[in-house]
Amino acid sequence: MLDQGPKPLVSVNDLKMHFPIFAGLFRRRVGEVKAVDGVSFDVMEGETLGLVGESGCGKSTCGRAVLRLYDITSGTIEIDGREIGDTPQTDLREMRPTMQMVFQDPQASLNPRMTVEDIIKEPLDEHTKLTDAEKRAKVGELMDAVGLNRRFAKRYPHAFSGGQRQRIGIARALALNPKFIVCDEPIAALDVSIQAQVVNLLEDLQEQFGLTYLFISHDLSMVRHIATRVAVMYLGKVVELAPREALYAEPLHPYTKALLSAVPEPDPSLARKTERIILKGDVPSPSNPPQGCNFCTRCPSVMDICKQDEPAYREVSPGRFTACHLYNDFDNTADQTAGAEANKSVNKEKTQ
């Protein structure tokens, strides 16, 4: 799929989503939570961009903001050749069929008083002029596509297990033949043996319908499986974005390194041998981020400059973006070994 000459379907530029904080007797605005604070990325047609990070880093907010489920603070979002960053909500309606969302909690995102058929049919009612029979036929097709038995169309969500409910949510997202789907932690609420079923289904559907995914997850091993490229977020900013293999083999940003090393290894002999990078402390509050680099309070290779200047987010080698002062010496033309060398110097600092 990569050879098709990648063309971005979604282009996000300097997206900011700040939520105001009101306090005091007169509910005056006293500050803001910078949930997403200047994020830029492209999602190529047919690819899966993984968006990973810890809870509170702004990854879900970012996913929702990209679909304009919020009125964004600033920035531009181009989906399928149309700028939607400042489009009023009423004008967005006609765009909705192209961009859909699968939510984290299938329990909460399905109306318990609607049958499965009604749930999957609702987007068709809203956006198409199909006859009732046509709609019902379409619902049947969708249920087949996601591996649900058509006979259960008249049942209510409570009669289904978590994995099946997630399939209902996926069928609803597919109903209008979207091009772009934001999957917001679609497997986080499921058991391991069910997670694999849903991930395989998402991959099959991608192939079948040529879908483009933004896959939001905190599960780094699952993202390694499903994503073509991976973006890592920390405190409202993307700190690193790279093709999957490169990111997992050779992470550049110290936060990515720590995050990867914290993932438990399901092999007892390896798990006990590997030296983990244990980060100290907690994530700072997004309403009061530290001066300089957002990660400077926990970074194992922090330098003086990190506490003063915010590192620029830039391409340090082809296809690899990072925002870290460790890579200041490498400009855009630096060859691919640059990353490797910088890596070595980081490791050296750690051992000292």
């Binding site: 058991d191 090393s261 914290a262 438990p264 007892p268 798990a271």
Partner: protein, 334 residues
């Protein structure tokens, strides 16, 4: 681990049933295990496999009705915990057996300071006065790595982050020098980097205090890193039990094998497609008269539907409840 040491906790044939309108749900079926001093026993299984209910039954934490701990023995400190009166049980809980729950927010009381909550078991179980308890509480917070412990005692739970709250929970569980610590998914609600901190803390604490730990989780990665022995549960039963290295290198039960295959790795070869376990976990309504895994199993045969397999010893402290012998690749003798 000395092999001949007497177990601190020994559970035999524990059976717990929930009475519901849909019938009796057999949540725990003849579960047996023992815990040696200083050892960490990992319990893995999916939600609904009975791992939490097992631990709650043996401490009498389940409301009855609907729960009914129908039979079994739980030997701790020379007593059968299923037969002792409520008062003795209360002195064991939070005293000699500590418990850490999954969600640190809902298990701490939001209207009391953290200090008061750590001091409570100290005053109840150890008979300390306020001053002694306060000094000990501060010591405990320092032990679990909370900076500025003296001042933090006066803070409320909402002033702590998720990882810090879980440290507070661990401090409470450790308050009375327990011989056994039962940790029920203690890191599931936490982020990976915070989980790594808690796992590291747990390793340190075990070295310092030498208590035995039962660690319940659904994450095989966590188990691989910390456990000495592992018990795999499915459908309310123990389906496999082995020392940790043995379990990962030589899994005998088809469920364990499938489970190990379904998890994608962050290192090594990346599979083009994930292996899946078809179907859904069993409902467990009605007594188990057949193997709970048979409908999702790739080696099941007619005997699996007729009988529930017992745990077969396969050597090296390893047993598996399966009629199919993975070593010979053939069914076991009837």
């Amino acid at each position: 681990m000395p092999d001949g040491a007497l177990p601190v906790l020994d559970v035999q044939d524990l059976k717990t049933v929930f009475r519901t309108r849909a019938g009796e749900v057999h949540a725990v079926n003849d579960v047996s295990f023992s815990l040696k001093p200083g050892e960490l026993l990992g319990v893995v299984g999916e939600s609904g496999s009975g791992k939490s209910v097992t631990m709650m039954s043996l401490l009498g934490l389940l409301p009855s009705p609907p729960a009914d701990v129908r039979r079994g023995t739980v030997t701790f400190d020379g007593k059968d915990l299923l037969k002792v009166n409520q008062e003795t049980l209360r002195s064991v809980r939070g005293g000699k057996i500590g418990f850490v729950f999954q969600d640190p927010m809902t298990s701490l009381n939001p209207v009391f300071t953290v200090g008061v909550q750590i001091m409570e078991p100290l005053r109840k179980h150890m008979g300390m006065n306020k001053k002694q308890a306060k000094a000990r509480a501060q010591e405990l917070l320092e032990l679990v790595g909370i900076p500025d412990a003296r001042r933090r005692l006066d803070d409320y739970p909402h002033q702590f982050s998720g990882g810090m709250r879980q440290r507070v929970m661990i401090a409470i569980a450790l308050a009375c020098d327990p011989q056994v610590l039962i940790a029920d998914e203690p890191t599931t609600a936490l982020d990976v980097t915070i989980q790594a901190q808690i796992l590291e803390l747990m390793k340190d604490l075990r070295e310092k205090l030498g208590m035995a730990v039962i660690w319940i989780t659904h994450d095989l990665g966590v188990i691989a890193g910390i456990a000495d022995r592992v018990m795999v549960m499915y459908g309310g039963q123990v389906v496999e039990h082995a020392p940790v290295h043995e379990l990962f290198s030589n899994p005998q039960h088809p469920y364990t094998r499938a489970l190990l295959k379904t998890i994608p790795n962050i290192a090594g070869e990346r599979a083009a497609r994930l292996t899946i376990i078809e179907g859904q976990p069993p409902l467990m309504v009605g007594p188990p008269e057949s193997c709970p895994f048979r409908n999702r199993c790739d080696v099941a045969f007619d005997r699996c539907a007729a009988e529930n397999p017992p745990r077969y010893d396969v050597g090296d402290g390893h047993d598996a409840a399966c009629f199919f012998d993975a070593k010979t690749g053939a069914p076991r003798d009837a």
